[in-house]
């Protein structure tokens, strides 16, 4: 199974596709519990890659390692290499704050700041030194349009973001993340707390963003993975069992376990 993945990655490299980020034998421990047992994956640039698998299989843990959000959880240990543009970012020498400007993240629960809609988007930019008011206005409008939220909030940009609905709040969080113009956008079940209409809007947003961003998304929703992703990795008990083009995973999986999972036999 793992060999499949490795061959696949080698093929991907051979095809000359550009790799946005990859891991090499990544292990993650929570205290003495090993949640990820040496995962090696490479994600192609400007594509959407989906991480699927049963609950507790390690998808979030793996995703959060990619921009080192697990650093903040007391007692976690991440061993192995994470290459971003040829640089191993799983190293003490890396400025994680700088790195996270390039590798953004959208979380499962919408988490807008207790600030206005406008400030939610501009806050981090200002902290990072962007002071030009016109430029900031422009970014706010552009990102809110990209996140399919502009029409609903353009008249209340300076009201609090906490009054938005769940779906709107999540799209604001997406706008906030892409305002940083990251290379890579990590999304952990971004639509799981949303109604079908908002989910559709978020999915449309992701497909549009693909032109400029590399997206890695954890999802529980098989249809969602099938609809929007180019590649899919199947996680099971802390290992990746299969990684391939999405249509192969769903139509011609190599492994029976994958087939069982995507056809809804467990999970």
């Amino acid at each position: 199974m793992i060999t499949d993945t490795e061959t696949y990655i080698r093929d991907l490299n051979k095809e000359g596709n550009e790799i946005a980020i990859s891991t090499d034998d990544l292990h993650v421990w929570y205290g003495s519990h090993e949640a990820i047992h040496g995962v090696s994956l490479a994600f192609e640039r400007f594509k959407i890659s989906a991480l699927i698998g049963a609950s507790g299989s390690g998808k979030s843990t793996y995703l959060r390692s990619l921009n080192r959000m697990n650093d903040n959880i007391y007692g976690t240990k991440v061993l192995g290499k994470i290459y971003y543009r040829g640089l191993n970012i799983n190293s003490d020498k890396i400025d994680v704050y700088e790195m996270r400007k390039h590798i953004g993240m959208v979380f499962q629960q919408p988490n807008p700041f207790a600030k206005s809609i406008y400030d939610n988007i501009t806050f981090a930019l200002k902290q990072h030194g962007e002071r030009n008011k016109e430029k900031l206005d422009e970014i706010v409008e552009k990102t809110l349009k990209q996140a399919a939220l502009w029409d609903q909030v353009k008249d209340k940009l300076h009201t609090s973001a906490l009054a938005l609905s769940g779906g709107q709040a999540q799209r604001l969080c997406i706008a906030r993340a892409i305002a940083m113009q990251p290379d890579i956008l990590l999304m952990d079940e971004p639509a799981s707390a949303l109604d079908p209409v908002s989910t559709q809007a978020v999915e449309d947003t992701m497909v549009q963003l693909k032109d400029k961003y590399t997206i890695i998304i954890v999802t529980h929703n098989m249809q969602q993975a099938a609809r929007i992703s180019d590649y899919t990795a199947f996680f099971h008990q802390g290992d990746v069992y299969e990684y391939d083009r999405t249509k192969n995973i769903f139509l011609h999986p190599h492994i029976k376990l994958t087939d069982d999972y995507v056809s809804g036999h467990f999970g």
Binding site: N67, N111, F113, R176
Partner: protein
Amino acid sequence: MNYKYSKTRRTQLIDRLAYKVFYVIAILIVLILAALLIYILVTGLPHISWHFLTGKSKPFQAGGGIGIQLFNSFYLLILTMLISVPISLGAGIWLSEYAKKNRLTNLIRTTIEILSSLPSVVVGLFGFILFVLQFNLGFSLLSGALALTIFSLPLLTTNVENALQTVHFTQREAGLALGLSRIETVLKIVVPAALPNIVTGMILAAGRVFGEAAALIYTAGQSAPAISFSNWNIFDLSSFLSPFRPAETLAVHIWKVNSEGLIPDASSVSAGASAVLIIAVLLFNFIARYLSNRIYQHMTGVKS
């Protein structure tokens, strides 16, 4: 089936009974409080006049006011908060956001708990020995403010820590994921989100500081020398701003008038002063609620 049915019945009965018991207890507490308030206000309000609020207290004769004591209480409160708010913010932020779970932080937490349960008389005597005698500050506003800082610091620190803890961890993750540093995230995201609770706690603590007497008797002193409101030189003892002058507060005045009984109208002076004190503390509470609602509304656009 029958058994199950009867069990449900019994649970329901107990439920209803418990509800009633708690209801009665709650009503009782409210009644006691209301009776106390009404008594103090009814006996005190008739004695309150402009002359009483602004006039000088008299050592032996009747007809004295509480002007200087009232001013002293507010000024001492301001001095105390100036010292203790920044310290408690720093300590609360450190405990909530940075402290690892180890023996040192356990020790610090235990110390804070012990400090917060110290009787205020003990704090006062400690302040007397350390600030008044050792630091040679004498009976002064500064000694009083330092003693009150010891008194209020544990309260304020715990309040700040608790307020920060109610901010969901996803807010911190959101900040970090945008490439903000820990300190930026804490100061610009977490603290503002906790502000309604922090402000509420601080104003409520201010109410307690305002009404404190025991910690001040041997620190800020029991005399209220005349002060000049036109003298802005803080190093001149007759200046109203001088932190080095002895300053009897309202609460201390009530205590002294009653325990010494040197003035013929002691009971009406203390009743009037008590009413003023209670009204001030009530005001603090209402302001706390009003402000925290306003901040919350401002941040969320939602009325709470």
